[in-house]
């Protein structure tokens, strides 16, 4: 599935959108500065659930006085019925570990198609708590697990049991009661294939929709469990968590290197996500060509103020991220003051967004630029929300065998100029390698000639493989100038994979991520953040260059909000000011 974008339209010369070039967008640092947008999967899912008024109840709510036991939620979505099964277990705090390599968790969960009967519940009870060590079947769509926030959970329950609401500042410091450490879908461990989900379950027929829903339900359970424990402890005194605080509670997430190879191994899908986001941005910019009205300028200003507060409320020990947050807030403050002072005049003078994005590119941090881009997309929901239906593409990488070798050389020179510019004779250019650990196949990054496992390197160094292939093609073209790619591959069969990738990605709009991923100083965290931004997370808190903490669904509506009037404006969550109730 592929929709025409501005780049397609460029051929016909009509209605060309001002798309940003690949050389700008596909730089890893920029991808690592992305924020969630209206097209992020959490945003899309929430819009759908609220507008379609999904009905969710819990036919089984069997927890003991400690909150351990089983809960089954039944979900009536627009097109189907699903069950969300939670097993709550005692976990020795010493064993609480957020890594993929952990083998016990506070909670384990499964999202299943249809209703769950006693027999299936028993099957799930025997397998779901084991996670990777268990097996499930094709009735299960997603498998996940979560650990309690040691800092916040007990505090919140104690406050509620005492009849008080927890301090919002304490909530802000953490942001969640539970952290999810993995959400497996797409057929892993015997689950339903993505193809089944896509073709049979329209409610989740978008990338990662079922996985995001699993995290949304975890958020719901976490607050329901806290309320339940408080009421168990003090039946007469306890109060329920205030709904404004509930909306401000999200789900924690720790993401490490496990997510990084996905972006390299699915370049067509990543290209599609980025193309849709860029199309949304270009649409916003193009819409302003007749000038921006005062109401729209003021809406942008309101959003800018909100982001400044959001950034000021983020707690991170990472020096680089902390400095960036401060600088972005400063630059947005300049924008805010300017909008306050000039909006009326700008509206009269037919101001265009291209002037703002151009100014930002010349004067402000990449992170600030990408915040502004996200906010511009927010201004035009009626023009961009339809793009959410085009976030998936069937990936197929195939050689174009009839292409001449000379033409293939030109393709590499044009589309992979970034790879050819890397000097791979420098040690640093090949100073790192990716491999799979024997601990649950966790991907890891090693140092060349220092760490063991180089001979089992994962082929993620696309730039280096392109360079090697280019050199060979160049030499081949000298000897056989009139031959085609098919003959080249027959004589050099071990290069068929990279040739297929080059030729396939050359036909895409944005192509591969332009970074040497085997450089000594590579920052995988940018890869993680790029993917997480498409998921829709917020509050990035890098813990090293290899993993990042963040918050999911913070600020999102609650189940009790479904079916009600909905302003889809929960991005960049800020501390609530409690109203009565």
């Amino acid at each position: 599935m592929h929709i025409p974008s501005s780049l397609d339209q460029a051929d016909s010369g009509v209605n060309r959108l001002p798309m940003r070039p690949a050389g700008q967008v596909m730089q890893l640092e920029r991808l690592g500065s992305f924020h969630q947008s209206r097209l992020s999967f959490m945003r899309t899912l929430v819009r759908r659930m609220v507008v379609e008024n999904w009905q969710i109840n819990s036919p089984v709510f069997d927890l003991d006085e400690h909150g351990y036991g089983t809960v089954v939620y039944q979900i009536e979505a627009k097109y189907g019925t699903f069950s969300y099964v939670v097993f709550s277990h005692y976990l020795d705090p010493e064993r609480r570990n957020d890594r993929v390599i952990a083998d016990q968790w506070d909670l384990t969960m499964a999202l299943c198609e249809g209703t769950v009967d006693t027999k299936q519940l028993e099957f799930l009870r025997n397998n779901v708590p084991k996670q990777e060590a268990g097996r499930v079947d094709s009735r299960v769509l997603v498998l996940s697990r979560a650990n309690r926030s040691a800092r916040l959970f007990d505090y919140v329950v104690n406050e509620l049991a005492d009849g008080c609401q927890p301090d919002v500042d304490a909530i802000a410091d953490v942001g969640y009661l539970y952290r999810t450490t993995a959400a497996y879908g797409s057929g892993k461990l015997g689950m339903a294939d993505w193809e089944k989900v896509w073709t049979k379950h329209r409610d989740f027929a978008r990338p990662f929709a079922a996985e995001m829903f699993t995290c949304f339900m975890l958020r719901h359970f976490s607050m329901q469990q806290a309320d339940y424990l408080a009421s168990q402890r003090s039946p007469t005194k306890a109060v329920a968590l205030h709904e404004d605080i509930k909306r401000y509670i999200g789900i924690g997430n720790s993401t490490g290197l496990g997510m990084a190879p996905f972006l390299i191994n699915h370049p067509l899908l990543i290209n599609q996500w980025i193309e849709m986001r860029e199309t949304a941005l270009a649409t916003a910019v193009a819409t302003s060509e007749i000038g921006v009205d005062l109401e729209t300028l003021l809406r942008l200003d309101t959003s800018v103020e909100r982001v400044i507060q959001h950034l000021n409320e983020i707690v991170t020990a990472d020096e680089r991220q902390s400095k960036a947050n401060i600088q972005v807030a400063k630059e947005l403050q300049l924008l805010h003051v300017w909008l306050q002072e000039e909006s009326t005049a700008l509206a009269i003078s037919h101001y265009v967004w291209a002037s703002l994005t151009q100014y930002a590119e010349q004067h402000w941090l990449i992170e600030t630029q990408e915040v502004i881009n996200t906010l511009l997309i927010e201004l035009y929901p009626e023009l961009v929300d339809g793009l959410e239906d085009h976030m998936w593409v069937e990936e197929s990488y195939q050689i174009t065998p009839e292409m001449s070798v000379a033409e293939l050389l030109e393709v590499v020179e044009e589309k992979y100029d970034w790879a050819l510019a890397i000097d791979f004779t420098q040690y640093e250019s090949m100073g790192a390698f990716w491999y799979r650990s024997d601990e649950k196949m966790e991907p890891r990054l090693g140092q060349t000639n220092i760490d063991m496992g180089m001979e089992k390197e994962m082929p993620l160094g696309i730039g280096r493989r392109v360079r090697e292939c280019y050199d060979l093609i160049y030499s081949y073209n000298q000897s056989y100038p009139d031959q085609d790619v098919a003959h080249f591959v027959v004589r050099n069969p071990t290069y068929s994979g990279i040739v297929a990738r080059i030729q396939t990605m050359a036909e895409s709009h944005y192509g591969d991520i332009r970074e040497n991923l085997v450089h000594s100083d590579v920052l995988p965290i940018h890869l993680l953040r790029c993917k997480l931004s498409f998921f829709g997370v917020s509050k990035f808190d890098p813990r090293s260059r290899l993993w990042v903490r963040n918050t999911m669904f913070q600020g999102a509506p609650l189940i009790s909000d479904f079916g009600k009037l909905f302003f889809d404006d929960w991005q960049f969550p800020i501390k609530p000011t409690l109203t009565s109730g």
């Binding site: 094709s138 015997g190 065998p401 009839e402 069969p493 994979g497």
Partner: protein
Amino acid sequence: MKVSKNELTASLKKAFEALGFQPGDYYDAADMVVWLETHGFYGFDRLLAVLAYLNTTAPVHAELVQEDVHNFVLDGKGTSVLLCGSEAVDLIRAQVMKGACAGLELTNCYNRTFIIQRLIKAAQRNLAFVAYWRQLDCCVKVSVKPGAVLPEYQTFTMLDVIDPQSLIIFCGKSIEAIEEQYAAELEFGTLVDTFSTQEMTDSYRNSVEEGIEIDESLWETLDKLVARVLVESTDSSRAGAGE
């Protein structure tokens, strides 16, 4: 036990990687096995038949030994179509993209049924294929129309003796064009058996809906192969990537 298509594909890719296949080769090989198994062509049995060979022999690719304007001969050198099928199909379709029909003989190769997946994939670029090979005392003929997602699969008696380890492929813009140009080469005896597209469709739908049944011992074999591409974990390698 049952596995999903995605899970099986991921496992096969790593298993083939462990056997020395390069990127590209292991993607194609995994796709071939999964396609055959999910469409009722006993992909697992065919995989088992070749695993011992692959496990003891470094990957061997076919060599182009003869070509003219419209015809090629590739020497498979005793290897599996899992390793040389893609190159054969790419070679012949390149020729057709430049002009009329083309023919290719892949000699001295094994596991020829796997070629069906490559033909189906290539047919999505608006090309037609007819392939045949000897199977015991019969001849298997596979025809794929341009854009078709399923082949016509038939078994005939042989009119002439066919080399037992050769695979013949013809490619053109349509089945009719191929049959017209290569009429003499496409004469077979009596139709013995067919495998209907309905059976293939039912098999595939069931695989997606219920998962794919796989013998636990084969799954363990794949797991053991996959283990070869894993690196032993150490405190050092574990450090810094989370807590």
